[in-house]
Symmetry: C2
Subunit: 254 residues, 2 copies
Amino acid sequence: MLKVVQDTYRLPDYEIALWQTNLFKALPQDVSNSLLTSCKLLELPKNETLHLQHDTADWFYFILSGWVKVYRETQEGDEAVIELLGTGDFVGEFAFLEGGCYTSDAAAAEKTTLVKMPAFLLKEAATKSHATALALLSGFADKRQRQTQELEGLKLQNAPQRIGCYLLRQCGGKEMGKHRLNLPYGKSLIATQLGMKGETFSRALQKLKKATHVGVTGRKVQVPDICALAEFVCAGCSNEYPCKDVLLDPRQSA
Amino acid sequence: MLKVVQDTYRLPDYEIALWQTNLFKALPQDVSNSLLTSCKLLELPKNETLHLQHDTADWFYFILSGWVKVYRETQEGDEAVIELLGTGDFVGEFAFLEGGCYTSDAAAAEKTTLVKMPAFLLKEAATKSHATALALLSGFADKRQRQTQELEGLKLQNAPQRIGCYLLRQCGGKEMGKHRLNLPYGKSLIATQLGMKGETFSRALQKLKKATHVGVTGRKVQVPDICALAEFVCAGCSNEYPCKDVLLDPRQSA
């Protein structure tokens, strides 16, 4: 069960975070007021389910901290991560455009704090306010670009290149020399996100280490030569490092 | 080079097709008038390039007949098909939301006839007209659902299941018994679309035939038992046959 941590009419910290989003800036004042007076703060322990695929999409969420895994599951229990959303992302904000139901399952991938808001208010806002529709369009465009990039990677890159690409994107656009970084979450979640089984991931990581001398111990990563890693990774990609979307996305700069 | 077949101020046949789209229905009258007076009809032979990734997106297109392959290519010439668009689809209509450049290459996958229209008029329309923004949002939602379904397939289904899924989607929602269909384009394009090399595709097709007794000769396909095919395919998917989007998409009913 979701645990309601706080239920109040003034949530200053969350308001600040919400007002930094393009979506909130574009909302008509009466809608943002309604959302702020009806929102609830939720704290989800790791692995707690937020919603299931095909559930009626009564709520959308804003992530204050942590990670939400949006995924689909076969009857046999195999899991495909569709997207992994972090601080500053919305969850389920497009469901009202997709038949009014969630199109995937969602669960906390780490301990996660979210703001929960009624979806019907967002739907109303999109219908009433041109600025809201434009903000949603811009959000859709960002998501589509990320998905297109992922589709390309799945079709063109081999497994070591996909892991290398993931690490490279965590380098936040740094172009030369060595770089140290901390993985934002565990390796098993990264493997699922990249569409690999555990053993495939381990083998591919070994190949990547051999080819580029990248070091990975727990969540600590050492990239001895960003150029060499980029050369290895981008041979299987239509873009060149640094990718434009990484430079524009503050969440990628570890 | 693109061949301009006709350049006229009245294009009745194309108008009829354009007016059937949600996007055109939502355009302010002055914008639809401007689009219809400035549009050009293009006929592209197979494999002719329409635009390249990173080109300035001066034009968007509407497909009257044929297939357009939207794809990305590595420097080494490997190709990832991002989407395959057919009759009634727009091409490049979202580029103005994605930095004003095309995010992928596009080429005619078969002989294709298109209407070519200035992209700045669409951008203006989205900015001026709430209804246009909502129509674009709805179009984005459809594309996102297709991409999400494809991402899921790439991560969860094995190669024979992916080919089977492709064939099943061509059955247009028919639930029982046997079904004959014609592939809309050649097997090598289907292989690229599914992210497989030619030899992987051939091996996977053999496995699919063995498991489900599907027959494929040239472009002719015989499915002796739709239920058996669905059972084989949908074991690797979160959805059940018939998929909702197939039932809603007239292009899927062969």
